[in-house]
């Protein structure tokens, strides 16, 4: 099963790079949705002997929410905001991609410093989770559109979640559901705020949200 796990992890790395290199909002939304699907598969291939009904249900719920409902919400926010569909990065796509490679290297290095317990599955897991988290952070700070920041937040959450899914499958149900609910509401509130931003400013470029400063 290690092969399948590694395959999923490598695909996750590719989605991150696509998120960095893509110039259309719609394809970025699709990329993050694809990430969520991969995450849904991850615990099934990471712990094939440990698949219970509960794990499957949680994975399904998480994937349905992050790959179905949230992308739909964000797409609606884009349509209702009536904005141009380019990403408009502060850092160019090529530079972003190159930085992405550097970040991947850093993630692998950092992961090497923290030895994993034996049942971790694949040695790739930790670097990939860290990489996804950092890419999410990078997207938040380097993209202008509010929708991209919401997507960056989702990608970051995905990275954290990838780590959690692979290890913490024994987390109590209440906490898992709470985390899912919080992420859902967070993106919902962000979507509503984006809607208001577009009504108020007729754009959703956060670099022009700059009247508050010292």
């Amino acid at each position: 099963m290690l092969f399948w796990l590694d395959l999923v992890l490598v695909l996750l790395v590719l989605t991150n790079l696509r998120l960095l290199g893509s110039s259309r909002l719609a394809s970025c939304i699709r990329t993050v949705a694809a990430q969520a699907v991969l995450l849904g598969v991850l615990p099934l291939v990471a712990h094939p002997h440990d698949v219970s009904l509960r794990v499957v249900a949680l994975c399904l719920a998480g994937a349905a929410m992050k790959a179905g409902v949230l992308p739909w919400l964000l797409r609606r926010a884009v349509v209702s905001a009536n904005v141009r569909s380019e990403v408009e990065p502060l850092v160019g796509f090529t530079t972003s991609l190159l930085l992405g490679i550097v970040l991947l290297g850093v993630a692998i290095h950092v992961a090497g410093q923290l030895p994993l317990p034996d049942d971790a599955g694949s040695p790739l897991l930790m670097p990939v989770a860290l990489f996804t988290t950092v890419v999410g952070l990078f997207v938040i700070v380097s993209r202008v559109k509010a929708v991209m920041q919401a997507l960056g937040y989702l990608a970051m959450e995905n990275g954290v979640y990838a780590f959690g899914l692979a290890f913490a499958v024994h987390e109590p149900l209440l906490v898992e559901m709470g985390i899912l609910l919080d992420v859902f509401v967070a993106v919902l509130v962000m979507g509503i705020t984006i809607h208001h931003i577009s009504r108020e400013f007729e754009h959703i470029d956060t670099d022009r949200l700059s009247s508050l400063k010292d």
Binding site: Q113, L114, P115, L116, P117, D118, D119, T133, L137, I140, A146, Q149, Y153, M156, E157, G159, V160, F163, G164, F167, A168, H170, E171, P172, L174, V175, G178, I179, L181, D182, V185, A186, V189, M190, T193, H196, I197, E200, F201, T206, L209, S210, S211, L212, D214
Partner: protein, 513 residues
């Protein structure tokens, strides 16, 4: 008891969403606040009852919970009374953005009241949680329900503040989630059975935790919850949100919400201490504390917006809290006392700032002047609040800041103590120049206005009714901050023995001694 603390505000909040008429909804807000305070008082009285846990060992009220619950509940009660008059006035008068003069509308009052109560419910949940995962869920929930509160005044500045608040805090909290997962790994790295993330189980099994993972987890949790607490350099959302939110919301954010995040950090710190890594977490807390104080003092100098000034003062005081815990010992107790004092003082200052903003229609420290004559009571509150928050005797913060200083000197940390005093001095000078300018009063005029405030009608009687600019100050707008001011004064003169004992035990619960 725990359920009363959570369900009273939660159910009342839901009811508020469906109640259409204004009057019963506002009454419900105050009633729920009273109910919550009554439940907290019950927890004080019934020591056995409060320790009995709910849903397994997931929720219980220990001493630290009780301290923070009391602060939150008291402040919320003051804010709720203030809100009744505030919302009535907001409904009546056309609104204009003080910065650009453009008209704007308010967000629905139904949603505002509902979110206010949900905010109280989520903050109570943070205080009573004893499972680190549940604490995370609750802290993130406080962000989400308070975002609409900041966007109550629908204009572009509040929108910008809301967006920054949402994104920065969500990112911070996501890092804290990673920290939680690292903690799970730390419980399993040594082999053997995984330990659930319940505080008492973790403390009991602390010796088994893997140190490398635990350190990484603490760092992430400190940065994550520190973002929410407003520690520099993760504080960037704080001045924006505090200055743009309605003043009663700013009072709650500063006095209650930041403390909740602080409590989350305290819980993890307690765990580090029992795992034998106390020195690591103490050093980090001292570092972030000093950095917050230094950075806030720089931004307070020449601050042109008085609500932003208060916001930076909150960053400074959060730094003091972190610093006190980092030093430990007597300073740890001082830190707990300071959390109480800071919340009450800052709550009162923000409510007074709300009155000033409503009367002067500006947040500029250059335009809001001559306050002691235009708003005798709020002006006096502003003066008292300034003296209290900068640590002047005889108010509460003086006592707690002195305790922290003594703790530092006892621990032999002279360098830290010098930095601490320096930052306090810079903040005092910075705030003094701004506040005195606003009051527009040399010393003798201050005394004169103090006189006028103690006998409200006196100016008229003495034939000084010719004061043309005197603005009306309705009772609802001055009674809550006056009550808080009285509490701050009392705490400066005398800390009641049960409170002192509770604070001592709270410090011990989170591993400070």
């Amino acid at each position: 008891m725990i359920w009363a603390l959570l369900l009273i505000p939660a159910v009342a909040g839901l009811l508020c969403l469906v109640l259409r008429p204004n009057a019963p909804r506002r009454a419900l807000l105050v009633l729920a606040a009273l109910g919550h305070s009554a439940a907290v008082a019950w927890a004080w009285a019934d020591a056995d009852g409060r320790r009995s846990a709910a849903i397994g060992a997931w929720m219980a009220i220990d001493e630290a919970s009780l301290v923070f619950l009391s602060i939150t509940s008291l402040l919320f009660l003051a804010a709720a009374v203030y809100a009744v008059g505030y919302l009535a006035r907001e409904n009546r008068e056309p609104q204009h953005n003080p910065e650009d003069g453009l008209p704007f509308e308010n967000y629905s009052e139904t949603v505002f009241t509902g979110c206010l109560l949900a905010f109280l419910a989520t903050m109570s949940l943070v205080a009573v949680s004893r499972h680190l995962g549940l604490i995370w869920v609750a802290v993130e929930a406080t962000t989400l329900v308070s975002a609409p509160l900041i966007y109550f005044h629908r204009h572009h500045r509040s929108l910008e503040a809301t967006w920054k608040y949402l994104v920065i805090c969500s990112v911070g909290i996501a890092l804290a989630l990673l920290g939680n997962f690292f903690l799970v790994v730390a419980t399993r790295a040594g082999g053997g059975e995984p330990i659930p993330l319940l505080l008492q189980d973790l403390t009991a099994g602390a010796a088994r935790l893997d140190h490398a993972w635990l350190k990484a987890a603490f760092l992430l949790l400190l940065v994550g919850y520190g973002t929410k607490m407003g520690l520099a350099p993760m504080h960037t959302w704080l001045p924006d949100a505090h200055s743009e939110a309605p003043s009663l919301v700013s009072a709650l954010l500063s006095g209650a919400l930041l403390n909740c995040a602080f409590l989350a950090i305290l819980r993890v710190h307690g765990l580090m201490v029992s795992a034998g890594l106390g020195d690591f977490s103490r050093e980090l807390l001292v570092l972030f504390g000093l950095l917050s104080m230094a950075l806030a003092s720089v931004f307070i100098l020449n601050q042109a917006d008085f609500k932003r000034m208060l916001a930076y003062s909150s960053v400074e005081h959060m730094g003091i809290l972190a610093l006190g815990i980092g030093i430990g010992g007597l300073a740890g107790y001082g830190s707990m006392l300071h959390a109480v004092n800071h919340s009450l003082t800052k709550g009162m200052l923000f409510l007074a700032a709300g009155n000033i903003l409503a009367a002067c229609r500006t947040k500029s420290t250059l335009a809001a002047r001559d306050l002691l004559r235009r708003l005798p009571v709020s002006g006096l509150l502003w003066l008292v609040g300034f003296l209290a928050i900068t640590g002047s005797p005889p108010f509460g913060p003086f006592l707690s800041e002195l305790t922290i200083l003594k703790g530092m000197l006892d621990a032999g940390n002279v360098a830290v103590a010098v930095g601490y005093l320096l930052a306090l001095a810079v903040v005092f000078v910075g705030m003094a120049s701004v506040v005195l300018q606003m009051l527009y009063a040399p010393v003798e005029a201050v005394e004169l206005a103090g006189d006028a405030a103690s006998h409200e009608a006196a100016p008229r009687v003495k034939g000084r009714a010719a004061e043309p600019q005197r603005e009306p100050e309705p009772l609802w707008s001055i009674v809550p901050p006056l009550a808080l001011a009285a509490a701050v004064l009392v705490l400066g003169l005398w800390v009641p023995a049960p409170l002192a004992e509770m604070l001592q035990r709270a410090a011990a619960v989170v591993g400070v001694n």
